[in-house]
Symmetry: D2
């Protein structure tokens, strides 16, 4: 998978922690999304195309595109924090640059700045299919660290 | 359903057109969302709480919240245009103000400015339950008018 | 000055504190902006039109529009906090809805949600002149509370 | 000036056209900003630090930071269009990542996607001084092409 960020993977502990959190996100499972990469400060999430994630013209719905982008950014931030930390999305902004088509779309969340309280991530979503890979959405997200809620 | 905007409904023709478009949005059906109000320049969409729309703590996922907000804004814009017009989301920004909890959440899209090419909507999402109604997200969306694609 | 929010003024102490902070904003003075209202959770800032605040067509520059909107939101937040608190802008998003023309523009910052750490404000800017008052920009801003830096 | 984008300059005709438009932006002159690079799809604008561009703590005001970022993005878009085209800012979102300090700040606007009607730019602002160069703001901007207004 071609991209410009670090090729290193996160540690097994971090990957396990993030995968387990992701598995508790009912929406991700319901949409059919899966994590495809967990690196320090960078997480990829893929979403296969199927009628359950479309808008009225058959493209990926902006909400589906945004959902995996939001999760990718949140988990990218989480790779940088300790076990007892959670992050919540404060806000995000996303531009839908092109109709989202393809076998699947892939969101990439990349930490731009990790702070003590706030973290800012860049969000990108690519449409992938027929040997093409096209940027279909681009955004920016602010997250806040919080104490992990009691389980 | 209490709100501060115009109580008038859109015309039957407009409501039918918007409901039919909404019914073609596979994502809305898959999430379990339904339109609850279609007024000129203002559309409400409700989403019942269930495990399929949650994040890792059991709250509504920001992606679910955003998805119905995005659709509500898009259809609010569409109420103001003629039959052969479609709108596409150019971009939106949303703040998640509070954990989204409740029997259901309700998104309200309201046209702030409708232009020849671009329309700007305000997006609000409320968590509703136990007799409470709380603003959980607030955003702003830009849409573009396009020729309706061939069916 | 017509608007829909609370007509009450902030306390003299709050108004003094905010006016003094505003007077230390070199940019506001350099642009020619002045505070026209300080109410709890709501601050207005006016900017007269003159060549020093224009873009290439003679309209108010988006940067001038945004500058007073950002300050209005920041001070709206500050009205709600104690004396030893400062707020910093985390981010904002603004839509330029119409060419900003008029004798002056007026920004209104209104707190949408004040939290322990983060505050979210709505930003509006009106073009005022010739008896007209027109919404020319609309936005949303996130602020963070910080300890007041040593003077 | 180190950066990762194309090192090529725009054509003399394009540079002349953009410099002349910039020179008509009263706000840029009033702030003391100047264009430092005009490349195809990428424009840099520098703003020296001085009391006239500060907020209450002596940092660059978010409005000053945003103003040059907005202009940099607008002119980056304009490099790609023909002589009789203008662009207007539809909206932008900017995160203030760190207090903006330095001898000067430098905004870089880079076209992410140029479309027939809309163009999306990435906005970055760096604080530069004492041999350091630090990202202090990051944003995203949507612009629309319009017919050049009669002069």
């Amino acid at each position: 998978m071609e991209d410009q960020t670090s090729q290193e993977q996160a540690s097994p502990e971090v990957r396990k922690r993030i995968q387990e959190s992701f598995d508790r996100q009912g929406l991700m499972r319901h949409l059919g999304a899966r994590i495809t990469r967990i690196a320090p400060g960078c997480v990829h999430i893929a979403l296969p195309g199927r009628p359950e994630v479309t808008q009225q013209h058959g493209y990926f719905h902006a909400g589906a595109t945004s959902s995996i982008a939001d999760s990718a950014g949140g988990y990218a931030a989480l790779t940088l924090f300790l076990e007892d930390t959670e992050v919540l999305t404060v806000e995000y902004k996303i531009n839908l640059l092109a109709p989202a088509l393809g076998d699947h779309i892939e969101a990439i969340g990349t930490v731009l700045k990790a702070g003590r309280t706030l973290t800012v991530c860049q969000l990108e979503v690519y449409g992938v299919g027929d040997g093409r890979r096209k940027l279909v959405a681009n955004g920016q997200q602010t997250l806040i660290r919080v104490d992990r809620p009691a389980q």
